[in-house]
């Protein structure tokens, strides 16, 4: 069953002045449990596509369904709640709230979901353990390395029990060891917990780990290959 389904998605920035056609009809289905990389040259529309799938931006034309819900029909506030409950985000950098500890950052989304303190704590701890940060739970982001921060971000993205995780170039700011480490964690979560991951990347080593690679060129899907 598809958790994400897009039909002829187009995106034009600056429709009034000098229009930029960032997406020119993208139709894509992503099933539960996928581990999919969106790749392509700079400016090909990867970020734009992820933002639209994640309900952060609205398409100019076309149709987006997430978990069976047509998100174009949601109001701004409903979209925020939808994101909170159904989508986990990992951004390129500065994902975390600087004034909260790793544990509080992970618990924060669950707080927004009105989960009990007990559940928040238990889940934050087990998620941080899962990304290998049991010993850094009470550190603030500034006290963590870039790789550790991204691992906290993955834990946070998982905290709300989302349908899938969207990650826009999650390793772009990491050295190769941290990149490998983060990828191991994502891969393991995908294998063992069947968490669906959709991520964009430029990094060939990351691309090599993906089970499906969707290549965008100039706002269109150029290739879509599934690996054994």
């Amino acid at each position: 069953m598809a958790v994400i389904s897009t039909q002829g998605v187009e995106k034009i920035y600056n429709p009034g002045k000098i229009p930029v056609k960032a997406l020119k009809g993208v139709s894509l289905e992503i099933a539960e449990g996928e581990f999919t990389a969106i790749v392509g040259p700079s400016g090909s529309g990867k970020t734009t596509l992820l933002n639209i799938i994640g309900g952060l931006d609205r398409p100019t034309a076309g149709y987006v369904e997430v978990g069976g819900v047509d998100i174009s029909g949601l109001s701004d506030n409903q979209l925020i709640d939808f994101r909170k409950d159904h989508i986990g985000f990992v951004f390129q950098a500065y994902n975390l709230i600087p004034v909260l500890t790793a544990r509080e950052n992970v618990a924060f989304v669950m707080l927004l979901q009105h989960r009990s303190a007990q559940e928040r704590n238990a889940r934050a701890e087990s998620l941080l353990a899962a990304v290998g940060l049991s010993d850094k739970m009470d550190k603030r982001p500034a006290e963590l390395s870039g790789g550790q921060q991204q691992r906290v971000a993955v834990a946070r993205a998982l905290a709300s029990k989302p349908s899938f995780i969207l990650a826009d170039e999650p390793t772009a700011n990491l050295d190769s060891a941290s990149t490998a480490n983060l990828l191991d964690i994502m891969y393991r979560l995908n294998q063992e917990e069947h968490i669906t991951f959709v991520f964009s990347t430029h990094d060939q080593r990351v691309i090599d780990r993906a089970k499906r690679v969707v290549t965008l060129v100039d706002g269109k899907i150029d290739r879509d290959e599934v690996r054994g």
Binding site: L56, I80, R83, Y94, I97, V99
Partner: protein, 405 residues
């Protein structure tokens, strides 16, 4: 709860900025409460001096007397009335019979205000005895007259000479009398100095043909704060269809107006002061909003509602204001207390003219919690208004745009 926690931590995120902002609020509050306390103290002192110079904080008359100022409105001062009026918080009863008369000396005549007084009660409230420059003070049983120095000069009279008074007394009787001048008093106020003639109360009542009657009963009060209490009590106990109870604000509207004008001037100063401080805080808020817009974008992206985020920022800014205001109040308390206990003492020309009026040239600060509360609420209001800016920004914030930088 979470919003408070976020707000609180964010306050301490950029400590230096918080300290600078809080310090600017602190100094504004300190300066304003100090100035306000001094000014109010000076005015309270001024009012006390002026009011106790002659009128007293409160007077009881027969209804309609104040408007007419006619001797025909003299009323019998019964023991029961005297008792009721003099009960606490009043510290003393100062009865008078007052009316204008024509005074004659050796070769001159002049209009004077004859005030029949109880010498001891009068002195207690107005300090009349201290203004004596020649002769002796009045005694209740005596027959002598105490003249303001200006009157004595005009009439060419000195202690030992005889003063002649002529007027129309109570209900039109002819009033005339001869009185030995037993004392001269000097008043800083030219108005009093050129028209006051004091007689012992009974002597004056006899002169006006108004035995047992007075035109006014001034009430001696230690504290201006007691006015409202006393007034309320008098309104309850006295027959208000027969008597009028007036406080100094009703009797001396000019003084009230002068105080209000002066206070209004200061309000403008405070307004400008807080405006400057507000601009400073606004700069901080602008910077903060700009710096944090990426973070705001992330928070909205991961599912925080705008109103939650806006509230958290609002709380943060208002808390910052409250911290500054509280620090300002804490800093002002000892300063204001110090100047209440050790009043500022004027010297030089200003002091000289004050002393001439018989005023001590001191300016004690008023210690009034309401002053601090007022300053704190100005800061609170300012921060509430300023906090609207980031709230509006957050309302319109597009996470994608915010995170693109």
């Amino acid at each position: 709860m979470m919003l408070f926690k976020l707000a609180w931590r964010n306050i301490w995120r950029n400590r230096r900025r918080t300290y600078i902002t809080a310090a600017s609020i602190l100094f504004a509050v300190l300066f304003a409460s100090f100035m306000d306390s001094l000014q109010r103290g000076a005015w309270d002192n001024m009012v006390r001096n002026v009011v106790n110079y002659y009128f007293g904080y409160m007077q009881v008359h027969e209804k309609g007397y104040w408007a007419e100022q006619s001797i025909d409105k003299a009323f019998i001062l019964t023991d029961s009335l005297r008792h009721k009026a003099g009960a606490p918080p009043a510290a003393g009863v100062v009865p008078r019979i007052e009316s204008f008369a024509l005074a004659a000396g050796e070769a001159q005549t002049t209009g004077v205000l004859v005030a029949g007084i109880e010498p001891e009660a009068e002195d207690e409230m107005t300090g009349l005895r201290e203004r004596l420059i020649d002769g002796r003070y009045l005694s209740a049983e005596g027959k002598g007259a105490l003249l303001a120095s200006g009157v004595a000069e005009k009439l060419g009279l000195g202690v030992g000479d005889t003063l002649v008074l002529i007027t129309q007394g109570f209900r039109g009787v002819n009033a005339a009398g001869k009185y030995p001048v037993t004392g001269l008093a000097s008043f800083g106020s030219p108005e009093l100095n050129k028209q006051m003639v004091y007689l012992p109360l009974q002597e004056a009542q006899y002169f006006f043909g108004a035995q047992g009657r007075v035109t006014s009963v001034a009430l001696h009060l230690e504290e201006a704060d007691d006015i409202a209490v006393l007034k309320a009590r008098l309104f309850q106990q006295l027959d208000t269809s027969a008597f009028e109870v007036m406080d100094w604000e009703e009797m001396l509207p000019d003084l009230v107006q002068a105080r209000e004008l002066d206070t209004a001037g200061n309000v403008i100063v405070y307004f400008i002061l807080y405006l400057i401080i507000a601009f400073g805080i606004f700069g901080t808020i602008l910077m903060m909003t700009k710096e944090r817009s990426y973070e705001f974008g992330v928070l909205i992206a991961i599912g925080m509602q705008r109103w939650q985020l806006a509230w958290s920022v609002f709380i943060e800014i208002v808390m910052l204001g409250i911290i500054g205001a509280l620090a300002g109040i804490l800093a002002s308390l000892p300063v204001v207390l110090y100047f209440k206990v050790n009043p500022i003492r004027f010297s030089g020309e200003m002091a000289g003219s004050l002393e001439k009026f018989g005023f001590e040239p001191i300016f004690p600060a008023t210690f009034d919690p309401r002053i601090f509360a007022a300053q704190a609420s100005y800061v609170f209001l300012a921060t509430v208004v300023l906090a609207i800016y980031p709230m509006l920004k957050i309302r319109k914030l597009e996470p994608v745009r915010a995170m693109r930088g």
